[in-house]
């Protein structure tokens, strides 16, 4: 070969190799669709599930849940609980830093727990039993409770256990809500309200080799079909909702899979026990045994929910025999109505969420109650009005569910205890109160379950709330996504995900 030609070839090849080497590696972005805009980026101010999903990437928690819903270490490496169940000692992980460089230590934990207890914090109720916080040393903290409180560790796996940088909180003050700084795998980058929220990889994350992607972008897609089509077209990698009707239609060559597992929540209807017509127990029971949960689960939710009759789904240890839906019995319902002096039936208004699924469920309930002469007027209402009506007690029935929490106490106590903060039914059953209180202070899981079973046996007859179905965690996940781990709290964990 001519020397000049070979030299030319060599130089071309070497420059090509050099060019290839100097090409910056393409940043890997994980796109996650959320069905509502996570409004507030401060765990002490948060009131919605989608916010918890975003926080998961920004903030680590003292403890976490694993795929079975068991409590596992996170920022606390280990912990001990005193025999009287009132003193918790947490041993914190060393060498962890907040994203702004502030070291994570026992003082930071103290700061966060005190902040969670402030008057304006929505975590106040969860942390109200923490009566004394002692910083033992830099990496040990002792928390004393005023009373034994079994759900306490579970609470630390969620927003109350999320750690914010004290320096950032002090620096931004009221505006911290827009400048979240945690120890999590991703750092807040910015947002286009109502459209996207972008996080960048935390290069100094304490879990070696994580996170796996460079960027996480949450895309707000209120309509489930829009999210689905974005998943199909590749603009979305994980969707936190999936259309029920499409679950059974996934083609073999589809670029996505459906994750369909039990969650911790429930959907159902509050019955106001202080106002007619539901002030009579017989009337509540009649309505309860007229509703065919299996039919609703099949027709509305394409069986991607579990028909239920208690607040405890299969993902929870307290799930017991009471969760089996009652058999529909029109004759008995009529007899119950007769006993309550409502032989000819009655009518009531049912405010329900504005989504198509709930409307369809409402319409089915309408039809199911008709044979006993009960007329239901459906009223589409948004969440603000629902919560307001619930708190004010100005309703007859209210279709309002709960996304669920890891500890059974968090799904029952405040809803049916006479002093519960979400006891919109105003049920006051002394025996239930006692049992729930006992379950709250009992440390042994088997004994707690027995107590919840007993409480449910009473509640099934009292019917303050019509438990209908337990939602499933239903995610659409692109096949290119690797390392996704399901956790029953329905929160997407991004650190281990790659694509």
């Amino acid at each position: 070969m001519n020397q000049r030609v070979s030299r030319f070839l060599l130089s071309t090849m070497s420059s090509a190799v050099l060019a290839a080497c100097s090409l910056p590696a393409l940043a890997v972005t994980l796109n996650i669709s959320l069905d509502a805009d996570p409004g507030k980026l401060d765990p002490t101010q948060s009131s919605m599930l989608n916010e918890r999903i975003v926080y998961q990437s920004l903030f680590d928690k003292l403890l976490d849940l694993d795929g079975e819903g068991k409590i596992v270490p996170m920022l606390a490496e280990r912990w001990t609980v005193s025999d009287d169940q009132k003193t918790y000692t947490l041993y914190l992980r060393k060498g962890v830093k907040f994203q702004d460089g502030t070291p994570f230590d026992a003082k930071a934990v103290e700061f966060n727990l005190l902040r969670g207890q402030e008057k304006t914090s929505l975590r106040r109720n969860e942390l109200k039993y923490v009566s004394r916080i002692t910083v033992v040393d830099d990496h040990t903290i002792r928390l004393e409770l005023s009373t034994p409180f079994a759900p306490f560790l579970s609470i630390l796996t969620d927003r109350a256990g999320m750690m914010s940088s004290p320096a950032a909180v002090k620096k931004y003050g009221e505006d911290y809500i827009n400048h979240p700084v945690g120890t999590g795998p991703f750092i807040y980058e910015g947002r286009l309200k109502g459209a996207t929220l972008t996080l960048k990889k935390n290069p100094d994350y304490w879990r070696a080799g994580l996170p796996k992607v460079d960027e996480v972008v949450y895309k707000i897609m209120p309509d489930v079909n829009v999210a689905f089509n974005n998943l199909r077209s590749g603009q979305v990698d994980i969707s936190n909702r999936f259309p029920y009707k499409e679950i059974t239609n996934v083609p073999a060559n589809a670029g996505y899979t459906v994750l369909n597992k039990p969650s911790l929540g429930f959907r159902g209807i509050y019955l106001n026990t202080t106002k007619p017509p539901f002030d009579k127990k017989e009337v509540r029971e009649a309505v309860d045994i007229l509703i065919d949960r299996n039919a609703i689960a099949k027709v509305v939710y394409n069986n991607a929910v579990a028909p239920g009759h208690s607040p405890f789904s299969k993902a929870q240890f307290a799930n017991g025999p009471s969760d089996a839906p009652p058999k529909v019995d029109v004759a008995r319902a009529k007899a119950l109505l007769k006993a309550a002096g409502k032989e000819g039936g009655f009518s009531f208004r049912l405010p329900l969420p504005t989504t198509a699924d709930e409307l369809q469920a409402g319409q089915m309930i309408q039809g199911m109650l008709r044979p006993a002469g009960i007329t239901v007027t459906l009223e589409k209402t948004e969440i603000a009005s629902q919560v307001e009506a619930g708190k004010a007690g100005t309703f007859e029935a209210l279709f309002l569910g709960w996304s669920g929490r890891p500890d059974p106490d968090q799904n029952i106590f405040d809803f049916v205890h006479s002093g519960g903060s979400m006891n919109y039914s105003h049920i006051a059953a002394r025996e239930v109160d006692d049992l729930l209180q006992q379950a709250r202070v009992e440390g042994d899981q088997a004994k707690r379950k027995a107590l919840y079973d007993q409480a449910m046996t009473i509640l099934v007859k009292e019917v303050p709330y019509l438990y209908l179905v337990h939602d499933n965690v239903l995610f659409g996940i692109a096949k290119s996504v690797k390392g996704f781990q399901y956790v029953p709290d329905g929160v997407i964990r991004t650190a281990t995900v790659s694509k």
Partner: protein, 315 residues
């Protein structure tokens, strides 16, 4: 063209409109069921947190005091801070307004590009095939649900063909190329729908003009069809079309809520609707105010255009 003082007078006249709109919106929000505190704090709010927020937002004050406070701040150039996340509403407006304006202009251009030739063609040949096809398309455009059309476009162009992204809005100022790619589908979907109405407008207006005596004269002079239609008739047929266009653009500036929702575009419409659901009164007020200002400006432009098209109006 009207003289400058006339323009200023027009602008000043719009101030009472703005005031009235803000008052109506404020009263409407007040009678809306659903407490803002319940909307913001949700089910887990403690009474203390609710009371603290109520105090902070001044919701316990009489309505008139609340309105007065808001108006006073606005007059001092402060649109307030969002109830939800404490960000200045002006910031959100600056983010959203250009998006909506871009979407509205783009959709309008699409509508004009389709409607004007189609309208002219079907008016010039009222018994021809062009008219039949045009009428059919217009009927389809007007009757088809917006949401369905958008979804169909996504399935066809994003899922099946993969030509355009189904979402992924990028602000124009950040990356104009990515922005245009993301905005193409929404603009076409919104524009298609609007084009139906506009096309019918062009057609009927032109048909009316084509029956005038001076058109017959033009034809009898031996002018060709296109010379008559484009040179003589079209200009005179434009006044109602411009009126309709003004209304159309005004409507779009209020927000193409459905288009914005389907394509994930952070426009004004979606902002206002979201804010209503969240009972973020301050954001709703600011959004509606901005939309009203836009409508006033568009109306002004329409008036100016009238005199350009028909100089007799300016006199």
């Amino acid at each position: 063209m009207p003289k400058l003082p006339k323009l200023v007078k027009r602008l000043l006249l719009s101030l009472p409109t703005l005031l009235l709109v803000s008052m109506v919106v404020f009263s409407l929000l007040a009678v809306l069921p659903g407490d803002p505190v319940a909307a913001i704090l949700g089910m887990e709010a403690t009474p203390e947190a609710a009371a603290a927020l109520r105090l902070k937002l001044g919701l316990d004050d009489p309505l008139l005091v609340q309105y007065g406070r808001w108006l006073w701040a606005v007059l001092h150039g402060d649109l307030g801070r969002s109830f939800i996340d404490n960000t200045p509403v002006a910031e959100a407006l600056w983010q959203r307004l250009p998006v909506t304006i871009e979407l509205a202009i783009g959709s309008f251009l699409v509508a004009v590009i389709i409607a004007v030739p189609a309208g002219i063609l079907s008016a010039a040949r009222p018994r021809g095939w062009a008219n039949a096809i045009g009428t059919l398309i217009a009927l389809f455009g007007m009757s088809v649900p917006h949401f369905w059309l958008g979804m169909l476009f996504i399935i066809l162009f994003a899922v099946k063909l993969g030509w355009l992204p189904a979402s992924g809005f990028v602000p124009l100022s950040v990356d104009w190329h990515a922005n245009l790619i993301a905005m193409t589908m929404p603009m076409v979907v919104a524009g298609l729908r609007e084009s139906a109405i506009l096309m019918r407008m062009v057609r009927s207006s032109l048909l009316e003009v084509l029956n005038e005596d001076y058109i017959r004269t033009a034809f009898s002079k031996g002018l060709r069809d296109w010379q008559v239609v484009l040179g003589h008739a079209l200009r005179n047929a434009m006044i109602p079309v411009v009126t309709a266009s003004g209304l159309m653009v005004s409507g779009m500036l209020g927000g193409l809520v459905i288009t914005e929702s389907i394509f994930g575009i952070p426009g004004m419409g979606k902002m206002i609707v979201d804010a209503i659901f969240q009972r973020d009164y301050v954001t709703v007020q600011a959004g509606v105010l901005a939309a009203t200002v836009m409508v006033v400006i568009v109306n002004l432009c329409v008036d100016l255009l009238y005199s350009v098209i028909d100089p007799r109006i300016a006199r």
